[in-house]
């Protein structure tokens, strides 16, 4: 497939990248290209300038925040790096577990965490995961740096808090405290395929958080279910009871894989499974 003509730059520093992005209308960051290149083939996006982030090594690191309370994942960290990171293994292993189920080896080798969340395709793995884990997103522009919560970051399909001329630089994920359990459950097309419905749960002494994917343009927190589970009874009967009415409270899209009603049902089932597995893991 021939792409529309485009200019290309590969800046060496984040400052340079931001300058390029803010100087040109129609400039777009290029991360792993696993979505953007395909979107350009389909002419669904036709940027004039591609600002390749490949050489920004400072965005390719996984480290801990100064007070050790958060794992800081650079936007250009690939799925393959997440899977093999010893920091992730120690501090929040669910990230590696989920990364290993995204698409296939080749796409995991190129695709980045930053690209995945900036696309915010409702079927993507990271948006509900990072919403459930309470991640924070750091965004840089010529005027400085700001942070956004998951609720603020995910705005719509292909739309996030990152606006023109800005760059997502890192994602901070709270490190797992003892007694915390995380799990992702869902229905995929094929073993490691795209999600039709997904749910991520995290269970800790602070309570239960549940985020759903695929049911809206942004991850949806199952607040009522979370509140009902605040008492701490996470038996199967209690979790099922807490999830009751969840499907009916959603307004999910219909497509060839599932109509709205069925997708809502799958989301409810996924939420129950995720909470039960997270509760099991929280026991250690």
């Amino acid at each position: 497939m021939l792409l529309r003509e485009v200019e290309y730059a590969r800046p060496a520093t984040v400052e340079e990248a931001i300058t390029l992005l803010s100087e040109h209308d129609g400039a777009r960051a290029l991360a792993g290209g696993q979505t953007l290149v395909n979107v350009m083939k389909a002419r669904a996006a036709s940027p004039d300038v591609l600002v390749d982030l490949a050489d920004l090594t400072e965005l390719r690191t996984i480290s801990f925040s100064a007070d050790q309370s958060a794992l800081e994942i650079g936007a250009m960290v690939t799925n393959t790096m997440v899977i093999s990171s010893s920091e992730v293994e120690v501090a929040r292993p669910i990230l590696a577990e989920v990364a290993a189920t995204i698409a296939d080896v080749q796409i995991r080798n190129r695709g980045t965490v930053g690209g995945n969340v900036c696309v915010n395709d409702p079927t993507n793995h990271y948006p509900p995961l990072l919403a459930a884990l309470g991640a924070t997103f750091t965004i840089r522009s010529t005027s400085g740096e700001r942070t956004a919560s998951a609720e603020e970051f995910f705005v719509g399909v292909y739309v996030t808090a990152v606006s023109e001329g800005e760059l997502l630089t890192k994602i901070s994920v709270p490190t797992r405290k003892p007694g915390t359990g995380d799990a992702m459950a869902g229905i995929t097309l094929g073993a490691h395929g795209t999600y039709v419905a997904s749910a991520v749960a995290t269970v800790s002494s602070e309570g239960v958080r549940v985020a759903l994917g695929c049911v809206s343009s942004v991850p949806v927190r199952a607040m009522v279910m979370e509140e009902r589970l605040a008492g701490g009874d996470l038996s199967e009967a209690a979790v099922r009871a807490a999830a009751e009415g969840l499907a009916a409270s959603l307004d999910p899209p219909s497509d060839v894989h599932a109509n709205a009603e069925y997708r809502g049902h799958l989301a409810e089932v996924s939420a129950v499974r995720a909470v039960l597995q997270a509760a099991e893991r929280a026991k250690g």
Binding site: R4, V6, E7, L30, Q34, L50, V105, I107
Partner: protein
């Protein structure tokens, strides 16, 4: 960029996909185009030591990188790699359309993990679709290379 050990310097439009650069500009037609959407793996090449899909990458993104295509596997004298020999012995191809991609994914796997289990081979080849063989012979061929290496 370096391809199969040879340095190439070319001026290309930024819109050119790596797979087209390899096939049309360098005449390395072993790398195939199947789906052109990142789904089938026929276009798989190695970027450094990693398998990647060359239909999902621009040629300019590979500027300065080292690429290996299926043409880079066998020696100049035509001696096959143990993996290629194993594909031959286990009848791991029928029409051959998927084969270059399968070989490149499996080569990257074997470099990291010289004795992969059947499960590890399946995971490594998940991004490669074959319409002919039913996969079984391909998986056996890759596992067999690992087993031979230990004999």
């Amino acid at each position: 960029m370096e391809i199969n050990g040879t340095s190439y310097e070319r001026d290309v439009p930024a819109s050119l996909l790596l797979v087209h650069f390899l096939r049309d500009d360098l005449d390395l037609t072993g790398t195939h185009v199947g789906c052109d959407t990142g789904s089938c793996g026929a276009c798989t090449v190695q970027l450094g030591d990693e398998a990647i899909k060359s239909c999902c990458m621009l040629a300019v993104q590979a500027d300065g990188a080292s690429i290996t295509t299926v043409e880079g596997l066998a020696s100049d004298e035509g001696e096959l790699t143990p993996l290629q020999q194993s594909f031959h012995e286990y009848h791991a191809l029928q029409c051959g359309y998927c084969t270059p991609g399968m070989l490149m994914s499996a080569t990257a796997l074997l470099e990291k993990n010289p004795r992969p289990s059947e499960h590890e081979v399946k995971v490594a080849l998940q991004g490669n679709i074959c319409r002919c063989t039913g996969y079984w012979n391909i998986i056996e061929a890759v596992v067999a290379v690992g087993e031979k290496g230990t004999r």
